[in-house]
């Protein structure tokens, strides 16, 4: 559906996108992930024809965005980072303009507007001035605009930025719904969001594509794989000997304090964490050693993201990462 090949974009001397190539298939939700300043918005702007690349091509449904812009743009609905709205208009007037610009007329236009208004959930505000709407509703009006003309691809640039938690959940659910009928590409620097919504993830760092796969496959990429942590009331040597006999562990670290050992063990690849935990507890129990606080540690997208973008880019985004870390930790608890 979308082919991006060797895309390069310079802003003066600054290299924003560096030889980016990927292909996007029909009917999935794709996540564009990267720290701030990684080149996500620039890539999206080039894909939608808002910017011209310094080099490289973008083809939408076989149409080149620069050479056959009209055919290519008809296949795309785009919501930029800041919803492009006219505050002096009502959503109804605004959507009429967009629909007409996309070549819709008369009955078809009215029907499309009605369906976009309904999908975006803005029926009750369609005749209020956009300037008086809340941020969440403005975002929805922006999404309704992207839906007009039945485009096959919907591109959303950071669609949940600045929304309250309830609105974020609503928009995420809405994007999931959209994904059933459209190809959706969304960009985000919030990892939990991408993990929750996307079937495929493109990780981009310093303008380069560093990974492109399903979130669960990306997790497998990690060198630091899944593991198990627990505490056991035993001496270090006892714990050591039981762990040495246990199956499914590739290595461990033991810290002893006040007669209690804290163990962090890594699982060998392909091991079922639950089964290993069961066997471990039974092994310690058989020796009469009580086990506390046993937890499985699963590698998540955050680890992948950190590992892949660590080489220099991570310092650009410590704030966002911290935010999403606390979010995902809270989720686990």
């Amino acid at each position: 559906m979308i082919q991006v090949s060797h895309l390069t974009k310079y802003y003066g001397d600054f290299l924003a996108v560096n030889d980016l190539s990927f292909e996007i298939q029909d009917g999935h939700v794709y996540g564009f992930l990267g720290p701030n300043g990684a080149g996500k918005s620039t890539t999206m702007n080039i894909m939608t024809g808002c910017l011209s690349p310094t080099d490289g091509t973008v083809k939408i449904g076989g149409f080149d965005i620069l050479e056959q812009p009209e055919q290519a743009k008809k296949l795309i609905g785009y919501l930029p980072e800041q919803p492009p709205l006219y505050p002096n208009e009502t959503p109804q007037e605004y959507l009429t303009f967009i629909g007409e610009a996309k070549g819709l007329h008369g009955k078809e236009l009215r029907e499309e507007i009605d369906s976009a208004v309904q999908s975006a959930g803005i029926e009750n505000v369609r005749d209020r001035l956009i300037g008086t709407l809340s941020k969440g509703y403005r975002q929805r009006v922006g999404i309704a605009q992207a839906l007009l003309g039945k485009p096959q691809v919907i591109i959303l640039d950071e669609p949940t930025v600045g929304l309250d938690p309830i609105q974020i959940i609503e928009i995420r659910d809405f994007i999931k719904e959209l994904g059933k009928t459209h190809t959706v590409i969304l960009s985000s620097h919030i990892l939990s969001e991408v993990q929750a919504v996307c079937e495929q993830v493109l990780i981009i760092s310093k303008g380069k594509l560093v990974a492109f796969d399903a979130p669960e496959n990306l997790e497998k990429l990690l060198t630091a794989s899944s593991g198990v942590t627990f505490q056991v009331e035993a001496g270090k040597e006892d714990a050591e000997s039981i762990l040495a006999q246990a199956e499914g562990l590739s290595g461990w670290e033991i810290k002893e304090a006040d007669g209690v050992c804290s163990v962090a063990a890594n699982l060998t690849e392909g091991q079922d964490a639950k089964a290993v935990c069961g066997k471990l507890t039974m092994a310690f129990a058989a020796k009469g050693l009580p086990v506390f606080e046993m937890r499985t540690r699963k590698a998540n997208l955050e680890d992948v993201f950190l590992e892949l973008t660590e080489s220099g880019a991570a310092e650009d985004a410590p704030q966002d990462l911290k935010e999403s870390k606390t979010e995902s930790e809270a989720g686990e608890e």
Partner: protein
């Protein structure tokens, strides 16, 4: 293009600008008609238009300042770029909308000579010919004002630059008498203009090579021509200034001559303004 035109007209009536513009133009014409036609009992409506033309220096920039600067400020230009519209359709739609907004008060003004003709001898062809030229001149100013608006995201800045440019154009004939008419003076001033053009190109393209090529090329061309045919430069600057004046050409119509060359000149300014606006928008994608 029609979609953009309809949208522009619809949103214009949501703001005060169009009402203020119409009120200001009608007020100017009203005062002029009262002063010339009623108090001084002159039957030539074209004199009123000549009097009003300085008003255009201020009110046209007020009309055009929003057109692209506002889109850029609110980031709605991104929307226009992502819609399946060609750049000329966006520019054409916006320009037509502005011209129609200008046509609205002009249409009302059309009634004035007719009313006056009921109460005295009014030479209607001269009055309506001048009114037509007044409209075309306004359309040319709108094209220039719109181009200036496409260069910035600051409405006030767009209006300010347009007012200064129009004022300079309005007084360029009087100024032409003051500037040096010697061949050396003309060549020197043209070199400075070449440097300024180079500077503008640099701001627009952010490309030093092109700017140096354009500015330097024009400068060298001026110097070489000056060295070969210095006599041709005698009085060149004042004559260029006179020829470029949009307002001076309008006085021909006021004097009762329907000057087709002036209309062609206005049409060229419109075409150039629209072309530059399209280029300015296209160029922004390459930034």
């Amino acid at each position: 293009m029609i979609a953009v035109l309809k949208h522009e007209l619809r949103s214009a009536f949501h703001t005060l600008t169009i009402y203020l513009f119409c009120a200001a133009l009608l007020c100017f014409v009203g005062v002029g008609a009262m002063y010339y036609n009623i108090q001084a009992s002159v039957a030539n409506f074209e004199y009123v238009l000549n009097f009003v033309s300085i008003g255009l220096v201020v009110i046209i920039p007020v009309l055009t300042m929003r057109s692209f600067a506002e889109e850029r400020k609110q980031k709605t230009d991104q929307l226009l770029y992502s819609l399946p519209l060609k750049t000329w359709q966006i520019v054409g739609g916006k320009y037509l909308a502005l011209v129609l907004m200008f046509l609205l008060p002009v249409a009302i003004i059309c009634i004035y000579p007719y009313i006056f003709s009921k109460y005295g001898e009014v030479y209607l062809p001269a009055a309506y010919g001048s009114l037509f030229a007044f409209f075309v001149m306004g359309a040319a100013l709108i094209a220039v004002g719109m181009f200036i608006s496409s260069l910035t995201e600051n409405q006030g800045f767009a209006a300010g630059i347009a007012i200064v440019l129009f004022l300079f154009n309005y007084y360029s004939v009087s100024l032409a008498e003051q500037v040096s008419s010697t061949s050396y003076g003309s060549a020197f001033t043209l070199c400075i203009i070449a440097a300024l053009i180079g500077l503008i190109v640099k701001t627009l393209t952010k490309n030093n090579a092109i700017a140096l090529g354009v500015g330097g090329g024009l400068g060298v061309l001026t110097i070489v021509s000056y060295l070969i045919v210095p006599d041709e430069f005698e009085g060149l600057l004042p004559s260029i200034m006179e020829k470029l004046s949009l307002f001076d050409r309008f006085t021909t119509f006021v004097n009762g001559v329907f000057d087709l060359t002036a209309l062609v000149f206005y049409a060229s300014v419109i075409a150039l303004g629209l072309f530059l606006t399209v280029q300015s928008l296209e160029k922004r994608r390459y930034n």
